[in-house]
């Protein structure tokens, strides 16, 4: 079961506060890094929701974010809608796509589920790649950021935008945590733990999984909206399946099924990438070694390992 433990709260707040400080004090470059972390963290939280708590390991969350990015970009840059309307439409589009993926794949499990989600992601990629009105393989520019000038915020400033992205991370985390504690979330965890027994207790398992996937896609969509505003540009690159793979790496690195871990994982991955790429362009190699080490050390991820050790200590203290 998911509980918003003090350790989770502290971890989330400390990481986000540290990133905010880094963005404020570190100049333009720091802001860029923080935005990259934030987008990856939101995607990782949304993936952890279905993979860690619902047992649905998706390889199309990158593509889902891409759909959110493209919907937002298309509606603002091409159709002239305002940012608020475009945001709602983009979230609705990703939720709808997620509902279809979830409903179709609900009765598939294991490796076949992963392959089915990969296929959905690739389909979305191909559609965007071929869609000339959306710029095809050239992508589409002319995306603008939210206009908060009414409250005196210039979102084109690197620091402002980075802080806004961190706020979205916090909101997405809070919403995911809230839903995991609700009846819906508890039931989802039950499905993950023992799908057959939930069915025998009278649950429409496929409906529950489809809605859970849809909700997770909606969260992933918000990452896409931020990504589009970050670079003011969208391209099919956003939907390439390796993006989904990277998100999965972040979740495993941070701790699958911990919700707070993915934020730590995102920060770790991006910082590691920055540091290592100063010395060598083969930074994937180092990330790969890190990932292997994380999996071999029990597969709990960085945050998951800390949580595990502290819980075990608490239990032995209680018994002593």
């Amino acid at each position: 079961m998911f509980y918003q433990t003090p350790l989770k709260s502290v971890t989330v707040i400390v990481i986000l506060a540290a990133l905010a400080l880094y963005a404020i004090l570190g100049g333009y470059f720091a802001g860029e890094i923080v935005v990259e972390i934030a987008v990856l963290a939101i995607l990782a939280i949304s993936l952890d929701f279905v993979a860690g708590y619902g047992g649905m390991v998706s390889l199309c969350h990158g593509a889902i974010a891409g759909i959110g990015a493209y919907t937002f970009a298309g509606l603002t840059a091409l159709a002239g809608f305002d940012g608020f309307t475009a945001t709602l439409a983009a979230l609705a589009a990703t939720a709808a796509f997620g509902l279809v993926v979830g409903a179709v794949t609900a009765n598939i499990s294991g490796i076949f589920f992963i392959m089915a989600t990969l296929a959905f992601g690739q389909m979305a990629y191909v559609v965007v790649f071929e869609w000339k009105a959306l710029g095809g393989d050239d992508g589409m520019s002319g995306v603008s950021r939210y206009d908060f000038s009414a409250i005196g915020l210039n979102m084109n400033g690197s620091v402002e935008f980075a802080l806004f992205c961190l706020l979205v991370v916090l909101i997405v985390y809070a919403v995911a945590a809230y839903v995991l504690r609700s009846s819906f979330g508890r039931t989802l965890i039950g499905v993950h733990s023992n799908e057959d027994r939930m069915r025998a207790l009278g649950l429409s398992v496929w409906k529950h999984k489809a809605v859970a996937f849809s909700f997770s896609s909606l969260l992933a969509g918000s990452a896409g909206i931020l990504a589009a505003q970050h670079t003011l540009f969208v391209s099919p690159e956003l939907l390439v399946w390796t993006v989904s793979g990277e998100v999965l790496i972040v979740v495993i690195l941070g701790g699958l099924g911990t919700l707070a871990g993915p934020i730590a994982g995102a920060a770790l991955l991006v910082f590691l990438k920055q540091q290592v790429s100063d010395y060598t362009e083969h930074w994937h190699l180092v990330i790969g070694l890190f990932l292997i080490a994380a999996v071999m050390a029990g597969g709990r991820g960085v945050y998951g390992q800390v949580e595990h050790v502290l819980q075990r200590k608490a239990r032995s203290d209680a018994n002593a």
């Binding site: 039950g190 023992n194 027994r197 069915r199 207790l201 429409s204 398992v205």
Partner: protein, 248 residues
């Protein structure tokens, strides 16, 4: 309450259930006896909807349920406990029971309510825990629970749905005499309007709790009657107790 008409199940050429007829009154306690491979669990799988019959019909409260799937039958008030423990492993005993209670009460879909922590669910959890003797184990992780506790929880999960019809597949399999006694008492304390079908290996338990007994052999009903009639039946003695007559 439960009616089974001419129910058969073939796996290819293998006929595991043959022309089974059964009729249960509301509140009846029916024990299904039979040697290994007699088709007892297959009968449960057919009743619960895990398997579809090759032919025949099943009626619950006079309405056909043959074409309903597992979850639809569960929502009609049919609940089942398994011969092999089938629990929610990562959770505690209390969370297991709350999950069963909330699911049965249809409180699964709201993102805004915390039904699992609500009073209605907590009361059901405490009531069921008391019945199956797990009141002081609610915070125990299932993964750390003893086999006996897990067996109790298995029955508890089925009870937490507050069913109309309860199917129990060898509830006392693998537990010691003390727990078998406790289980006898549990059956006696369950609401009288609850209809129960129990698959049992243990003849004494069967005779003790049953209103009527059905004996299966090779997928067929070979005998049905009261415990007294069953004890006196030659056909039952021959197939079920055959081994003590000398050929073993």
């Amino acid at each position: 309450m439960l009616e089974v008409r001419d129910l058969s199940k073939n796996f290819g050429g293998l006929r595991v259930s043959r022309h089974i007829h059964m009729a249960l009154e509301k509140g009846e306690r029916r024990v299904v006896l039979g040697p290994n491979g007699a088709g007892k669990t297959t009968l449960f799988n057919l009743l619960a909807g895990t398997l579809q019959p090759t032919s025949g019909e099943i009626l619950l409260d006079g309405k056909p349920i043959t074409n309903l799937n597992v979850e639809q039958r569960a929502r009609r008030g049919l609940s089942r406990s398994y011969q092999k423990n089938n629990l929610f492993e990562g959770l505690t005993v209390g969370e297991n029971l709350a999950l069963a209670a909330a699911t049965a009460q249809g409180r699964t879909f709201s993102c805004f309510s915390r039904a699992h922590e609500s009073r209605a669910i907590r009361e059901t959890v405490e009531e069921v825990a008391e019945m199956v003797g797990l009141s002081d184990r609610l915070d125990l992780g299932v993964a750390h629970a003893s086999y006996g506790n897990r067996r109790q929880l298995e029955v508890g999960l089925a009870l937490a749905t507050k069913p109309k019809l309860l199917l129990m597949d060898e509830p006392t399999s693998g537990v010691g005499p003390g727990m078998i006694d406790a289980f006898h008492k549990l059956i006696a304390t369950l609401p009288r309007e609850l209809t129960i079908v129990i698959i049992e290996h243990d003849l004494d338990l069967g005779f003790d709790v049953a209103d009527r007994i059905t004996v299966l052999n090779y997928g067929e009903v070979v005998f049905e009657g009261t415990p007294e009639e069953t004890k006196g039946s030659d056909v039952v003695r021959e197939i079920y107790l055959g081994d003590w007559q000398g050929d073993a």
